[in-house]
């Protein structure tokens, strides 16, 4: 359910911001004044000296805030402002919202910056439930979590306000796509970047999980802050120049599969994708979706670099050292289109075998080794190839003379085989190995027994020692989630069983749990789905992280590679082993031409929208317009039907427990949606259609429909305007934009809205912002197909009951986004609260509680907007 409470918060925020940052006490000044102040502040920040100072101060502030509570100065100001402005205030906020919407899309220079920023923030917050106010009797007092956060953000923003801001915005959006994992990361990142203020709430909620992390995070944050400051300064200068182009460059070192090193200069804030494309280009690799870049985290654990996120924020303090490797092992390598792809897969497997990660028998070691020799040395030459010629190769973890002799003996039998054929034979045998493509993770079962979780193309395998003791194929799994250091899978009930069961595993730590979860999400999507799930941009409720695999699925990549039409690229086969031994000769390639690389990357990606947008990501200037549109649509999704009846207040004492982070992945459940359901969905109210239309890439607001639909409520009108805005105002470079990696089609959700009148809000002129309470029940189902029926029907909700048996838990995520628009900086703070629980949970109550708590934490802040998404899982009718 999406409840958007808008105006009040905005107002408050604005005033707050002003006072804090610039210490301009202009509480009374309504939107416009605020804007002016903001603009003034921003420019100031833009100027070299001031910005730095500001940023520093802001940072300083933020830290204390994090430690304690919101800043003292800001609260009073905010209150005063609200009061003074009265109705006009309210109006402005809405406008602001609209603006924000517009801002989200293309930046609208015209509109008051502050408002926009606030609004934008709010919008982003939508995902979370952030009830605005007290006005709502229902859920209990809706706290202004967002607002508080926003305020903080604003301060920070002011400080930094520049290119960075823009980037951040993008990031936030991207992150939102990426699900749970990302969210968490986001939090951290945001915290870092922002300052400490945001951190607190988030942490509190996360408590249980992230105690350790927190400390880490804090330190990291601090560091990052410093960095950011520096960057900001630089950025500021850049801004002054009005160009966002200049960026700090960093050299990345990538270990390729043949053991050679590839070095490449990237902008410090470049996303993983940029580097990945650089590497693929260097390798001349087109079928790249099977591959990825990994790095070692502080605990020496291998982590995959998320292409959609900034590299810097992922590697944290680690070095810019990466490894290019196979991420998704194709079950049938013969279906790969190009030999070069197979060659790279061979190199990976040779590593896997030599390291023991891919166990095989003596005979298999010998056989695979012999194909390796054939591929790399050609036919056996008795004169040239004496026994010692193979001692440079490593065929097995423990290589014996006997094995080498066997390899040579078999090598002789391959006479006449071309390198490509030898590679193909190698793969034909390797793919049958039981551990081929199985990503192992240490864990314990419910009884504390050491086991291994193996994630592979077909599902999840459970090993005890070397024995497979259980297996859960993807179709058997309804849901995967992690909480703290536990990883859960919910199993579809068998024929004879009535209820699904949940199996839990204990991972060494929270990060490990998250890692398994993420790998599962990725593997499931890649191998099982036709197309990736759209990260619910809308931020539909969302219990949990929004992480989704955003790349192409195997089906898509196969389709794409079937279109590859180029002469087989020349490449030289070399044994990784030998190369690594002679590092001197290792080819080192440096790519420093930033722009070229970019272009190339973009070109390659042609087929996939997301990729394209991603490739552009490094450049700030490339604001994704399409994305913005998408965002807009998202906003629009918060369609309002006005129900006069607010949600009934429930006095149940459901309490939001802050400790748990619960992440869940709903897609799994949805993959089996049958047509019947889709049909049902088609009956969706016209709202859904509207939403859909908005979601389509083209920004066509269809105001008329909206008008019909949303009569009377000012808010509605405003929104419409906002939507229209993008069209009118072409996006500017430098504006914050949301990454448009989203494909045009968003399938999703249905919004049911019970809404307190927006109009009423206007009339309510108290400090307390009138609460527009919109409850949107969002059903997100992922249809593998791209058809537009994204809206679920209420009927579908039935399934919701089956959803979770787990205890109520809450996750809070804070997003702070700073954007620079036409010299103005915007700050958006989005706080997302995810409440997970049984279907019978009183969400309103829980939400209210959460908000209340947030408010208490940040007394000086106000809630601008609250959006509640209630996500109910669909039942799978079919088996």
């Amino acid at each position: 359910m999406t409840t958007e409470v808008g105006s009040e918060t905005d107002v408050k925020k604005e005033p707050e911001k002003v006072p804090e940052v610039q210490q301009q006490t202009e509480p009374q000044q309504t939107e416009q004044p605020d804007k002016a102040a903001d603009s003034a502040a921003q420019p100031a920040s833009a100027s070299d000296d001031q910005p730095q100072e500001e940023s520093q101060s802001a940072e300083a502030k933020s830290d204390p805030e994090a430690a304690a509570s919101p800043e003292p100065s800001s609260p009073p100001a905010a209150g005063g402002q609200k009061k003074d402005k009265g109705i006009s205030r309210f109006l402005p906020p809405w406008l602001k919202r609209q603006k924000s919407l517009s801002q989200d899309k293309p930046a609208e220079s015209t509109e008051p910056p502050r408002q926009e920023s606030v609004e934008a923030v709010k919008e982003e917050h939508e995902e979370t439930s952030q009830p605005k106010e007290e006005a709502d009797g229902e859920g209990g007092a809706t706290t202004s979590t967002e607002q508080t956060e926003e305020v903080k953000e604003v301060k920070e923003v002011k400080e930094v306000k520049e290119v960075k801001e823009v980037k951040e915005v993008k990031e936030v959006r991207e992150e939102s796509r990426a699900e749970e994992v990302q969210v968490e990361e986001k939090d951290k990142e945001e915290e870092k970047s922002i300052g400490s203020a945001d951190t607190q709430p988030v942490r509190e909620e996360k408590e249980g999980e992230s105690e350790v992390k927190e400390s880490e995070e804090q330190t990291e944050k601090k560091e990052e802050k410093k960095e950011e400051e520096q960057v900001n300064q630089q950025e500021t200068s850049v801004l002054s120049a009005l160009k966002l182009k200049k960026m700090k460059m960093v050299v990345c070192h990538v270990t390729l599969l043949d053991g050679s090193q590839f070095s490449c200069e990237v902008e410090k804030r470049a996303k993983g994708q940029y580097l990945f494309f650089q590497v693929c280009e260097q390798l001349n690799l087109l079928e790249k979706d099977y591959f990825g870049l990994s790095f070692k985290d502080n605990a020496e654990q291998r982590c995959w670099l998320d292409p959609t996120k900034e590299i810097k924020r992922q590697i944290r303090n680690s070095q810019w050292q990466f490894a290019f490797s196979v991420k998704f092992y194709p079950p049938d390598p013969s279906q790969l289109t190009e030999d070069i792809t197979r060659y790279l897969l061979c190199l990976q497997l040779r590593q896997d075998i030599a390291s023991g990660r891919l166990p095989c028998s003596f005979v298999t070691h010998a056989l695979l080794g012999s194909y390796t020799l054939q591929a790399e040395l050609g036919d056996h030459d008795p004169e040239e190839h004496r026994l010692d010629y193979i001692s440079d190769f490593q065929f097995a973890p423990n290589q014996t003379k006997e094995l080498e002799e066997k390899v040579v003996e078999l090598h002789k039998s391959h006479r006449g085989m071309t390198p490509a054929q030898a590679d193909a034979q190698f793969l034909e045998n390797a793919k049958k190995l039981s551990m081929y493509g199985v990503d192992l993770h240490h864990a314990k079962d419910s009884e504390g027994v050491d086991i291994m979780l193996g994630v592979c193309a077909n599902g999840l395998l459970i090993y005890k020692d070397r024995l497979r003791i259980n297996r859960f194929a993807w179709p058997k799994i309804l849901k995967i989630s992690y909480k703290r250091s536990n990883f859960y899978i919910k199993i579809r009930p068998g024929e004879a069983e009535q209820f699904e069961s949940t199996v839990g595993f204990k991972l060494p730590n929270h990060r490990a749990a998250k890692r398994v979860w993420k790998v599962c999400v990725e593997h499931h999507t890649f191998f099982r789905l036709v197309s990736p799930e759209q990260p619910t941009k809308t931020k539909f409720l969302t219990l949990g992280s929004k992480f989704r695999y955003s790349g192409r699925t195997q089906a898509q990549t196969r389709q794409a590679s079937s279109l590859i039409d180029r002469p087989a690229p020349y490449f030289q086969r070399t044994s990784s082993k030998r190369i690594s031994r002679s590092l001197d000769g290792a080819p080192v390639v440096n790519v420093s031409d930033y722009s070229q690389a970019l272009t190339a990357g973009a070109g390659e990606n042609g087929p996939s929208l997301e990729l394209n947008s991603d490739s552009k990501s490094p450049q700030v200037e490339v604001v994704e317009k399409p994305n913005e549109d998408a965002d807009t649509s998202l906003t629009s999704e918060t369609a309002f039907e006005t129900d006069k009846g607010g949600a009934p207040e429930r006095k149940s004492k459901l309490r939001v427990q802050g400790e748990n982070i619960y992440v869940r992945h709903s897609n799994l459940m949805l993959e089996d949606l049958d047509k019947t359901q889709e049909d049902v969905l088609k009956h969706q109210a016209s709202i859904s259609e509207l939403k859909r239309s908005f979601m389509e890439a083209t920004p066509e607001p269809r105001p008329s429909q909206w008008d019909k639909r949303l009569t009377g409520s000012p808010a509605t009108t405003l929104r419409l305007q906002a939507q229209g805005v993008p069209q009118q105002t072409p996006p500017r470079p430098g504006t914050d934009s949301r990454d448009a990696s989203k494909p045009p089609v968003v399938k999703t959700e249905m919004v049911t809205i019970s809404d307190t009148f927006a109009a009423q809000k206007t009339e309510i002129s108290t400090k307390e912002v009138p609460i527009v309470h919109t409850e949107t029940k969002t059903i997100t189902y992922e249809a593998a197909q791209l058809d537009g029926n994204g809206d679920g029907e209420p009927g579908v909700l039935m399934t919701a009951q089956t959803i979770t048996s787990e205890s109520l838990c809450t996750t809070t995520t804070t997003h702070i986004t700073k954007t620079l628009k036409g010299g103005l900086s915007e700050t958006r703070i989005e706080k997302r609260i995810v409440i997970t629980g049984d279907s019978d949970i009183d969400h309103d109550q829980a939400l209210a509680q959460a908000i209340k708590e947030a408010k208490e934490q940040h007394p000086d802040m106000s809630v601008t907007r609250v959006v509640v998404h209630k996500e109910t899982e669909l039942a799978e009718d079919d088996d």
């Binding site: 056989l367 066997k406 024995l467 497979r468």
Partner: protein, 282 residues
Amino acid sequence: MAGLMSGFGSFTHAVVRAVPQSLAKEALRTGSQEVDLLKVREEYDEYVSVLKHRLGLEVVELPADDALPDSVFVEDVAVVCGDTALITRPGAESRRKETEAMKTALTELGLNIVEMTDESATLDGGDVLFTGREFFVGLSKRTNQRGAEILADVFKDYAVSTVPVQDRLHLKTVCSMAAPGLIAIGSSEPAQKVLKIMQQMSDHKYDKLTVPDDYAANCIYMNLPGKGDVLLHCTPEEFPESAKVFEKLKDHMLIPVNNQEKAKVDGGLTCLSVLINKKNNI
């Protein structure tokens, strides 16, 4: 060149062991039926004759040993896959010495011998089902987890999944391979339970051939040059209904083999031999 996992069912050699005098009275059995030693010997001779003359395998016959009443069931003491032989540690203490002669014979055949020396491990070959793509190991009274682990360690190329076996002696008491990708399975509840587990644990799809009698599900599949699919299965006299099921396998060379008397001491068709493929070994 033989690739990994190619040539399922292709065999060149068989190791058997002559029937000891002590079988009739001392062999372990879950029932309490009287065993007619003469009949056992008749059946055994017929069995060996089929392998040797009908199918043309090289048959290595180990000498009978009266000190080892169960030694005719050689399957339990060795698991051979490819050119590697795992000499097991049988779950029944009285059978541990049966491995010696087997080890010698397999060594002479040029196989790589791995012995299960871990004293905490037990494994009966009758609990090991090799499908051509993976192993299933029944966890029974005769086979424990450790035994299965060792097997998994020996045959690293293959997935080894464990299957709890209840109310039956061995995993292969209720099932066996009737063709590549075809599992013959009994229709009793324990048998069906076993099948279900195996299906869940496997990445591969198996068809099933359900026979009314659990014992009849124990058959021997081979793929021999010049003969194609060969199936040794129960006789109509012993299990008429189950025999009819096998008779539906039109493409197989069907060879009913009488096993009535040995069944009294829980001996199935597979129990009587260790099959080896030497030609295709690398």
